[in-house]
């Protein structure tokens, strides 16, 4: 059973990383800025999940905090970019 | 005189307890103190507070949304995998007249819409009367409107207004 668990861990991790690859590819080809922003957002979420995988593998909670931080602030970059695209400046008067 | 945001305080204290993962009295006290301090400190920049009328309705809404999320995930997965090749998928915008006004209700609606794959919040008219969604698989707009209005909006108004 633990074999299944380990397989599941490895598999999920691989999935997430592959997902990151897709996102990176999208990020590279674009074609437009908003695509890249979206890809970055996705990249962050996948990174979060990868971290959770690591955490489960080592059965420690230390990676939880990193995941938490990504969940909390992974979007900041995205919205900053989006706002830049939308308004031309990140912070308006 | 602005009301104190009890909801926020409680939420923060809960969060603190979850984070630290211990419920010792000292910890509780510390968490509560922190929450109060932060709430008061930032009360100026959060001028309006939500107030839940019907918590039970909120619970109902939650289950409803969960179900929809499951369903739409399945649908979108099919689309991505191209299992719907026989039927051509056409995405499109749909305008939905809104009755709900409370900003938090709107925010919740936004969260719901966003977290159900297949629908994205595109635009809200400046007078918050018309909501524009982008739907991945738009079969008939009217059905979409009804879903939003009856499945979510009524409950939201029930909860927040």
């Amino acid at each position: 059973m633990s074999a299944l668990f380990n397989f599941a861990l490895a598999f999920a991790q691989l999935c997430f990383i592959l997902a990151m690859c897709c996102a990176a590819a999208r990020m590279m080809i674009g074609p437009r800025a908003q695509d890249r922003v979206l890809a970055l957002d996705t990249l962050y979420i996948n990174g979060l999940l990868t971290l959770l995988m690591l955490g489960m593998r080592t059965s420690t909670t230390i990676y939880f905090d990193i995941a938490l931080l990504i969940a909390l602030f992974g979007f900041v970059g995205s919205i900053a970019l989006a706002k830049f695209l939308l308004r031309g400046e990140v912070v308006e008067p | 005189m602005k009301r104190i945001a009890w909801l926020l305080m409680i939420g923060l204290t809960l969060m603190w307890l979850l984070l630290t993962g211990s419920a010792s009295p000292g910890n509780v006290l510390l968490g509560a103190a922190l929450s109060v301090a932060m709430t008061l400190w930032f009360s100026a920049v959060r001028p309006l507070h939500p107030h839940l009328r019907r918590p039970r309705a909120a619970l109902r809404l939650f289950w409803r949304v969960a179900a929809d999320v499951l369903r739409s995930n399945y649908a979108v997965a099919r689309i991505v995998l191209g299992l719907t090749a026989k039927r051509n998928v056409h995405a499109g915008f749909v305008d939905i007249p809104l009755a709900v006004r409370d900003p938090h209700a709107l925010a919740t609606l936004a969260a719901i819409v966003t977290s159900t794959p297949g629908t994205v919040w595109a635009n809200l008219s400046p007078d918050n009367r018309v909501l524009t969604l982008h739907v991945l698989d738009l079969r008939d707009p009217q059905h979409m409107r009804d879903t939003i209005k009856h499945r979510y909006e009524d409950l939201l108004r029930e909860i927040f207004e």
């Binding site: 996705t42 995988m53 955490g55 969940a71 995205s78 | 794959p117 991945l136």
Partner: protein, 110 residues
């Protein structure tokens, strides 16, 4: 102790959840890669955001609860945060997309 000496009745659902979540997330990103227009691309990743993340979080919750021997639910926070923050991104992105499409269009035929 490490995670794989948890009782099987716990490990089985965990594994299934993991595999399922992994697949969903991968699908989502694939969709991001395969869809034609930007608006279509907006949708698939949210699968990862919701179900994928949800599954993995539940799994992780189970594991850590099993390890700790008591319910550990702080992964809920992550879910809450994701749900709270992703709308902002989505709205702004859509807004930006609409706006830029418009400006590009008017640039194309003034």
């Amino acid at each position: 102790m490490s995670a794989d000496m948890l009782p099987p009745w716990l490990l089985l659902p965990v594994s299934l959840l993991l595999i399922f979540g992994g697949l969903l997330t991968l699908l989502g990103s694939l969709g991001l890669l395969r869809m034609k227009t930007f608006y279509q691309r907006m949708h698939p990743p949210s699968m990862g955001n919701t179900m994928g993340a949800g599954c993995v979080l539940i799994a992780s919750m189970l594991v850590s609860s099993g390890l700790a021997g008591r319910p550990v639910v702080h992964e809920v926070l992550i879910a809450v945060f994701i749900v709270t923050t992703s709308p902002i991104t989505a709205m702004l992105l859509m807004g930006a997309a609409v706006h830029r499409e418009a400006s590009q269009r008017e640039k194309r035929e003034p």
